[in-house]
Amino acid sequence: MLGYVVRRLLWGLLLLLLVSALTFVIFYVLPSADPAQLRAGRSGSLATLAAIRHNLGLDRPLTVQYWTFLKRLVLHGDLGYSYYSDASVRSLLFDRIGPTVSLALGAVVVWLLVSIPIGMISAVRPRSWLDRLTMGGALLALSLPVYWVGLVALYLFSDDIGKWPLLPGAGSYVPLAQSPWEWFTSLIMPWLVLASTYAAIYARLLRGNLIETLSEDYVRTARAKGLSERRVILRHGLPPAAGPLMTLAGLDLGLLLGGAVLTETIFGIPGIGRLNYEAIVHADYPVIQGTVLLAAMFVIVANIAVDIGYAYLDPRVRTA
């Protein structure tokens, strides 16, 4: 078991290295804005620009630049400085990770809480009108673009510009430490909007899985033994059906921790996703590199955690 864990961790580290190299190549090779000009603002002197380029090491060959970047990262934990805002990339990431974690975790909780009961009810009464209603709603929810839903929600329910003021509007996020109540209310709409698509997908998935498990032999045995239907469903049907959901939720959480760009942009949540989007728009390489690495790290960790979980449960996987 230990050997498997170690191997997965090592492979994860290698993946991270490859992702960083790939990011480096992509964003330096593809045509984009000049970081020296970004730094220098609209100043005139050519000598200044050349000096800035030299200071940033931009006149060195690509491999040298990458090596310098790696060295700084591994030895000093230094991800460089943002070209756009003078702050260190690390401080920017630390500053923005809180909102993203709040958003992602909350959304996961919401969609699991919503999708599991809905999926269960639909599976238990397939083809009933309730089933058709919920599955139809789920299909609708996953066909809607999330930003459209978010905008409509804002214009209907936000307390500053909405028709029926109910919840705090865009840009009202405050950190948990500052005011728990305001933190909570400012995230309700973003959570609901972000969770809607996932809830739909998970509900459909659970319904399909549960219908299958409920037709398995062991469930029939349980029924034959005289157990109540509720016990049968909850104790014997649900766990194997929900298993894949949990796995998927772990992986999706890993993805979301890299930042939900669209939701963060619409609701003005200062998270990693928005940071990355703004960095791309401003061609701010160090920040792009930092956010991509962070997001990749979350994805890789999530994958490793899931794999280790499987290996723990199923010893045959460990030899893979």
């Binding site: 100043s43 005139g44 000598a47 200044t48 200071n55 500053d95 804002l154 510009i161 940071l275």
Partner: protein
């Protein structure tokens, strides 16, 4: 060199006279003109919140160049000379103790520094003349890279080769006297240029370690000399307390500020900028809320809403700058002056103004010096020099056809093969203006390729980079650096200013006659002489059609009902932090 308009623009308020001439606005006969508040009275206390969409470009006074940053610094720092909010033409002493003393030959400028001005914690000590000397010298350091140092301080002896070390032409005979020795007789221009924040004193013993970084880190530890300061922790670190990138700027009272050394009342206790958010939502929050100001230009819909329903919460300030479309004169097809004039004649500049909010947001421009800048009237005033291709604000198809024929296209439509690259700004309302220009080009027969990008990309990768060979940049403009017309025209149209990178002369106009006239006008002495000289240059530039002027901004300035905004007429109407108050 003047600042480009693309950054967050807000303009100072004049009267609503022009707006009153609008016929039916649908709101009934409410025609009260808003008065300019000059902040001579006000209630003490309160926090002002400013909503803005963009981060400041830099809070280091040696780097700052955008109007948002200038607004912040006008409250936290003191320059040698400054403008009072309601008078954008006359410089008054701020850090200086008295008027500037210019020698008879115009090559020496002497300024006396006030006593009793102290830095904010943790530096705390009194400001000395040597600090201003250091502040200017560091502007030439590549780690700081001040955008206008070489333009305005370039005539100082020793500045031409400066890279951050001492400059011989800046002398400090004692702790409160500063003497500039120049190689050309431009001392009075230099005195005016000191209103820009490069003359903000910087304590060398505190800042040198930060300036040794590449890039300089001083912005994250900046100290203040004004009535307010950026909130900082005990060691003076601003980043994380007074400035959170992408989130907020927080300015609080400066404990070291001595009110007896300063004319500014400083009513507010604190000011906070909230960064991020979309213009329409922010606009409505400001209109419906309390204690808020909109730091960006409002969208057309918000202008309409405010104008019709919150008339006393919106101020239109003239002198916001002039907007123009740059046509690249060095590459086909617009290397042909007739094609440029045809394009100017066919463009509907009224529509370009309508998508920004209509007649209330500005006057249709007919040349490049704008209302409030010296020389405006001499250059033709509102009516302009009378070029036929700019005579009709809504465009004149007949004149356009005439110039197309002169260019060799008798059908009136372009038949060449080049694809005209049009690089515009993303975001409302600039993207709409870019699309109008794009469509106008297509209507003339040009094949176009339109891209809407971020401001830094627009300049850094396209419009300010000659080798990108972009033909049309529709979302450009200039704001003066200070009252002199040179700051509007020189860098923007002087052939000598063309640079392979960060080029300020976007049309790359290189007309020997204009260049020569500019060299002479740079050293002209006396307001009337300068006004006339630069007005003549303005007419010459307009005649080349290298750029199509289309709007003289009257920047709409939005604030909540309980805010007494004292607009900075010299800085596009941003509410001056040290004069504004809450009711």
């Amino acid at each position: 060199m003047a600042r480009a308009l693309a950054r967050a623009l807000v303009a100072a308020a004049l009267t609503l006279v022009a707006a009153l001439t609008l016929a039916a606005c649908g709101s009934g006969g409410d025609t009260t003109a808003a008065q300019i508040d000059n902040g001579s009275t006000g209630k003490h206390g309160g926090t002002l919140r400013i909503l803005t969409g963009e981060d400041p470009s830099s809070l280091d006074p040696g780097v700052t160049y955008s109007s948002l940053d200038l607004n912040v610094l006008a409250g936290t720092e003191r320059t040698l000379y400054a403008y009072k909010p309601d008078d954008p033409a006359k410089i008054v002493p701020d850090l200086a103790a008295g008027p500037p003393q210019v020698s008879a030959d115009g090559k020496t400028l002497t300024v006396k520094i006030r006593s009793g001005v102290h830095y904010s914690p943790p530096v705390n000590r009194e400001v000395k003349a040597q600090d201003v000397k250091y502040a200017i010298e560091r502007g030439f350091n590549p780690h700081v890279a001040n955008p206008y140092a070489s333009t305005y301080y370039g005539d100082v002896v020793g500045a031409a080769n400066a890279t951050g070390g001492p400059i011989a032409g800046i002398q400090t005979p004692d702790d409160h006297t500063l003497v500039f020795k120049l190689s050309r007789p431009t001392a009075s221009l230099l005195a005016q240029a000191t209103i820009l924040p490069l003359s903000v004193p910087v304590p060398p013993e505190y800042a040198k370690p930060f300036d040794a970084h590449a890039p300089s880190d001083y912005a994250n530890h900046v100290v203040a000399t004004g009535p307010y300061m950026l909130a900082a922790d005990k060691s003076g670190k601003v980043l994380g307390t007074g400035y959170k990138p992408g989130r907020l700027i927080r300015v609080v009272r400066n404990p070291s500020w001595n009110a007896s050394t300063d004319d500014r009342p400083a009513y507010l206790d604190a000011i906070q900028w909230t960064i991020g958010g979309t213009p329409t939502v922010s606009g409505r929050q400001v209109l419906n809320g309390k204690g808020m100001v909109l730091g960006d230009p409002p969208t057309a819909a918000i202008v309409k809403l405010a104008y019709q329903h919150h008339r006393d919460q919106i101020l239109f300030v003239e002198g916001g700058g002039s907007r123009y479309i740059a046509l690249n004169t060095q590459v086909p097809p617009f290397d042909d002056a007739n094609l440029r004039k045809a394009m100017a004649a066919s463009l509907d500049r009224e529509r370009m103004r309508i998508v920004r909010g209509g007649a209330v947001v500005g006057d249709i421009a007919t040349h490049f010096l704008y209302p409030g800048v010296l020389g405006f009237d001499e250059a033709g005033g509102l009516a302009g020099p009378g070029e036929d291709f700019l005579a009709a604000p809504a465009g004149d198809k007949a004149v356009a056809a005439k110039y197309m024929k002169a260019a060799g296209y008798p059908s009136g439509r372009y038949t060449g093969t080049e694809t005209v690259q049009v690089i515009g700004l993303a975001g409302e309302p600039d993207d709409n203006d870019a699309q109008i220009v794009d469509q106008a080009l297509q209507d003339l027969g040009f094949k176009t390729s339109l891209k809407l990008v971020d401001a830094s990309v627009m300049y850094g990768r396209f419009c300010a980079l000659p080798k990108s060979k972009v033909q049309v940049c529709p979302n450009l403009g200039w704001v003066r650096d200070f009252a002199d017309p040179q700051t509007v025209l020189d860098a923007a149209f002087n052939g000598a200013a063309i640079s392979p990178e960060n080029n300020p002369n976007w049309p790359q106009l290189d007309d020997p006659k204009i260049n020569a006239a500019m060299s002479k006008a740079e050293v002209a002495v006396g307001t009337e002489k300068r006004a006339q000289a630069w007005a003549d240059i303005d007419r010459m530039i307009t005649a080349t059609a290298a750029a199509i002027p289309w709007l003289w901004d009257k920047q709409p300035n939005l604030f909540s009902a309980d805010v007494r905004c004292v607009p900075e007429l010299w800085n596009q109407g941003h509410c001056d932090l040290a004069y504004s108050s809450l009711k």
